[in-house]
Assembly symmetry: C2
Amino acid sequence: MPIEAREIVLAARPAGWPSESDFRIESRTLADPTDGEIAIEVTHLSVDPYMRSRMRDAASYAAPVQLGEKMTGAGVGRVFASRSPRFQPGDWVQGVTGWCSHLVTEARGFRKLDPSASPGSTALGVPGMTGLTAYFGLLDVGKPKSGETVLISGAAGAVGSVAGQIARIQGCRTVGIAGSDEKVAWLVEELGFGAAFNYKTTADYRARISELCPNGVDIYFDNVGGEITDAVFPLLNVHARMPVCGQISQYNNEEQEMGPRLLWYLITKRARVEGFLVTDYAERFREALAQLTGWYREGRLVHREEIEHGLENTPRAFLEMMRGRNTGKMIVKVAD
Amino acid sequence: MPIEAREIVLAARPAGWPSESDFRIESRTLADPTDGEIAIEVTHLSVDPYMRSRMRDAASYAAPVQLGEKMTGAGVGRVFASRSPRFQPGDWVQGVTGWCSHLVTEARGFRKLDPSASPGSTALGVPGMTGLTAYFGLLDVGKPKSGETVLISGAAGAVGSVAGQIARIQGCRTVGIAGSDEKVAWLVEELGFGAAFNYKTTADYRARISELCPNGVDIYFDNVGGEITDAVFPLLNVHARMPVCGQISQYNNEEQEMGPRLLWYLITKRARVEGFLVTDYAERFREALAQLTGWYREGRLVHREEIEHGLENTPRAFLEMMRGRNTGKMIVKVAD
C-alpha cells in the first residue's frame, strides 16, 4: 500500500537570515522498504542551529542540502513496516529522518527507544543528541573540576541548558548568558545556575561577566561566538578551557565578520580553545545516554520543550529557534 | 672590592614600535653578595620577542619592567663571588640576569653549565629556554604523529627553527614560513624542512600554504599571529592542533587589531588552539634538556646564532630581532 509522504525541501539558498520562502512542502509516494530498510511515521522533529550551515552551498563537516532536497535533521517516529531484523512494526525509533511525515530508510543509524521511559520527543533532548552534545562538550573537552566557574553562552538553549546543569552536577559554579529576563529567571530558579544575565539589556558584557564571575572563568562553553565571546577572553583564568559548540551569531553572515584578534590571551593564560562535534563520540553514546537518563530520572537534569505543531510549520519553528524564541529544546510535533 | 656594573634600563614606554631611545645605559656599584647570593659577570644575553610585552604598563603573565628598572631577560655568565654552597667562583651559570654586565643575585633560579659540552651562548639556544619552548610547545601541546604535516610560522627564528627540527625528528613533514629567501634556503637546505616560503614576497598566503601542504595542516606552531595565522585556519585538518607560542605581529600594536572571526573552523575541524608558557614545565626541564642536548650532539638539531657585540648594543639587537634580522638565535656577546 503506497504511502504519501510530505517533505520540506530546500527551495532557495538564503542570503543572510533565512525566511519561510526558502522552504517548500512537497508530496511524494514512498516505495516499500527493501532488505535492510524500515518505513517510519515521524512524530517529532528537532530543529537546531547547525541546520543553517547545511543550507549553504559550501563544504563543511557534512555535505550541504541540495536545492529541492529534503532538509536534514533528527527525528523520532514509529516503524510501520520493516525489512530489518532489528525492528518490528510499532517500534519507536530515533535517527536522522529529515523534515518529513514518513520515510523509508536504511535501518542502520536508527536507535530503538523505550516508550515507557519517557515521551518520544525527549529522545531529541536530554537523553538524545542535545544531551550528548552537552555531555561530551562539557566533560570531555571542558574537563570541569569541582569548584570551578563555568560560563555558558546560549545558556537557555537546548544544549546550553543541559551543559550548565551537568556543570552544576560536577560541583561547578555556573553562570549563564541568555537573551531574555524570562530565560535568565528559568536558569537561576529552575536549573540551579549560580547566576545569569540578559545580554540584550547589557551594554558592557565584559563588566557584567566580570561581576558575576569574580574568580574568573575556568570553562567557557560557547554556543554563540561574536561579541559575547570576545568579552570572555580577557577574563579567562590560567589553564582555562573553551569548548566551542556553536557560533550562532555568525551563521547568517554573508561576509566574514571581523573581531579583535585574541590569541595573545591564550598564551598569557595558557588557555585552550577546542571545537567538537558530538558525532565523533558515537562509540561512547551508550555510556553517556545511561548517565544522562539516570540524571534525568533522578530529577537532576530538567528538560524543557517548546513545541510547534505540524510539519508545515517546521520552517517557522527553525527560524524562531534561530531568533532565540525557545527556552530549552525546540521540537516540532508532526503526528501523535 | 666593589664592582661597577653597567645596566640597560627602560627609559620610556614605547607607543608602537620601540626605538633605541626607549633604553638608557647606567652604571651602578654592586654590593658584595650576602648569604645565598652569587656575583656574576655576564658574557651572553638573549633577546626575545616576549620582552616587548614587558615594556608595557599592563599586567600579563609577568610583571612589567618599571621605568628606570633594568630590562629583564636570560643570560649566561661566570660566577666571580659566591655565598651559595651550590656555586664556586669560575662556575658558568644560566638564568635571568637582565641586561647588564655584572649582577649580584639570589643563586636560586640559576643553573650550572658544563662549559666542556658546548659554548656558553648555546645554553640560551637549543639546550636552553629556546629549545625548551620549542620542545614543550611542539611535543606536549602539538602532540605530533609521524607522517603529519607541521606548519611553523616564524620558522627561521630561535624557537621556530628548533620546533621544526623536532617535528622532523618525529617523522613529520615540516613546512616553514619565514621573512627572506635566505631564511627559506636555510630551512630547507640545512634544517631539513620539507618546504618553506617567504611571506614577504607572497601575495596569497592561503594559496601558498595550500600548495605546500597538499594534505592539509595537522599542527600549526604559531609564533606570529595576524594575517598569516588567519590564512591557516581554513587549511586545518580534522583534529588539528595549534600551539600558540607567540604573536609577534601584534606586539607593537597600540590599538586592538581586528581580524576575521575564525572559531567556526575549530568546530568543523574539531581543532584545538592552545597557548603555553615554557615556565609551566619547569619540573620537566631536566628530562627535556637531556633530550635536546642529545639531539644537538648527534647533529640532529642544528643551532645557529646571530651575534651582536657589546652590552650597549643590546637594544639594537632586540630591535633588529623584532624586525626579523636574525636567522636562528639572536645573542648579545657582553664579554668573552
